[in-house]
């Protein structure tokens, strides 16, 4: 199993979730994060003083997926979240040693 972490632009969330639903991903966990990368924040003025917000709002998805579909998940995210603009984000894949469903206690791929 794989543990996939994707950092995407916030406004792409709904689209990505629907695309993933279409390929059979039944669950995911989402959180709000701030990203720091090549994309530079805007320079803002507050009361006459300039400042740059170099941390940009991003959304992080965490998806546990079976080895079978992991590649497809990555591809789907990469294509759906892509705007061809800098700052579109990253997808990281880690190995997942085990998964457990709290409600039933079952583990392994059936827990996903």
């Amino acid at each position: 199993m794989k543990f996939i972490i994707a950092i995407i632009k916030p406004f792409k969330l709904d689209e990505v979730r629907e695309a993933l639903g279409a390929i059979g991903v039944a669950g995911m966990t989402v959180s709000e994060v701030k990203g720091f990368g090549r994309q530079k924040g805007q320079t803002e003025i507050y009361r006459g003083a300039e400042y740059s917000t170099n941390m940009l709002p991003k959304v992080k998805l965490e998806i546990a997926a079976s080895d079978d579909i992991a590649a497809q998940v990555v591809e789907t995210i990469q294509q759906t979240a892509n705007t061809e603009a800098i700052g579109d984000g990253k997808i990281f894949v880690l190995d997942l040693a085990s998964a457990t469903r709290i409600r039933t206690g079952e583990s392994g791929e059936t827990a996903l």
């Binding site: 406004f11 969330l13 989402v30 709000e32 805007q42 803002e44 003025i45 709002p57």
Partner: protein, 443 residues
Amino acid sequence: MKRSILTLAALAAGAGLFAQPALAAVPDAEVVSGGTAYILNTLLFMMGGFLVMWMAAGFAMLEAGLVRAKNTSTQCIKNIGLYSIAGLMFWVIGYNIAYPGEFNGFIGGFSGIYPMQGVGEADTETGYSVASDWFFQMVFCATTASIVSGTVAERVKIVPFFIFVTVLTGIIYPVVVSWEWGAGYLDSEWAFSDFAGSTLVHSTGGWAALMGALIIGARLGRYGPDGKVNVFPGTNIPLATLGTFILWLGWFGFNGASQLAMGTVGDVSDVSKIFVNTNMAAAGGVVTAIILTQLRYKKADVTMALNGALAGLVSITAEPLAPTVGQSILIGAIGGAIVVFTVPLLDKLKIDDVVGAIPVHLFAGIWGTLIVAWTAAPDAGVTFIGQLVGVVMTAVWVCAASAVVWLALKYTIGVRPSEEDEVGGLDHAEIGVEAYPEFARTT
């Protein structure tokens, strides 16, 4: 009914008595000297004026609470800006158009800047200080503009918005006022009656807002394909609640001081009756909105309750004095019901009204204006047709004029921000100051 140029009959009753004590026509308990009446009339305008000025804060809070966080700073600056512009424009040109004196009944009074009184001067012939009257009239003008800002929130850049407000408060609104309170066509030909402005203020704002919503279009992503309505919940409900309470409070000034006089026992009694009716109409609107949403959706939608209060207030505004308490409650309750049913209706029509200003100010405003035909004193000569003419004339003029301005803006400097700016929020694009920079936001 004319407004602003107070007839001095009542006043004379009190003051005259002093001059000719021999007459003894006025019972002791009703004696008021001329100077005292002048002071009390002026005081009414000043109190009414600051209460209505406070409504600007009410609109600001209501709207700031109902937009999304990313557009909140923008909504704040729009509201303080529009109130300021309204004051300037009403002085430069608006007041003279609204109260032109002798004119053709349709438009007049382009005599320019309004001359305020000098120090120590008192216009005892009008029976009140003209500056107090101007102040009171000016805050009504600002209210009209506040209505628009709520409907078209989250998708209009500030510069075109402020330009629209400039025209609205300098010309569009004053022309409507001149027809009725300025003793023009509607007043003289139709005995049209609009005590405190259900049509003149609220519907005018509502029509201007409607044209804005139509011409500017809905917020990005608001309406999906197959009739899907995407909900963008308001970001701060207590703020919206506060705004509504502020407006409710301000409305005592709005309606109460529209009696235009409290220098006689009769006038002050009427002002207090107006307080009661105004309050009860709002209460009727709240209770109706709560009951209807509870029955219809099994939940009592707080934003509808707030809109219900305002709809009740708008409904009673055209005639807050004549109705009985029971009638006032009913009028307000129907206003509340109108809101509950028309808010989703607008969504069906894909008319995107962020705060519900069109149902509240326009629909309830029309309702309140028409019902005057039944509640007005029989001898006032108010007819349903007369009321309807007033509603329609206002609609035609305000829609036409607003459309011209919105379209002109659209095809010149542009009204909407870029998609990216709209998605990122106007606060980033236009103001540079986030409303709540420290609070993490959910996606």
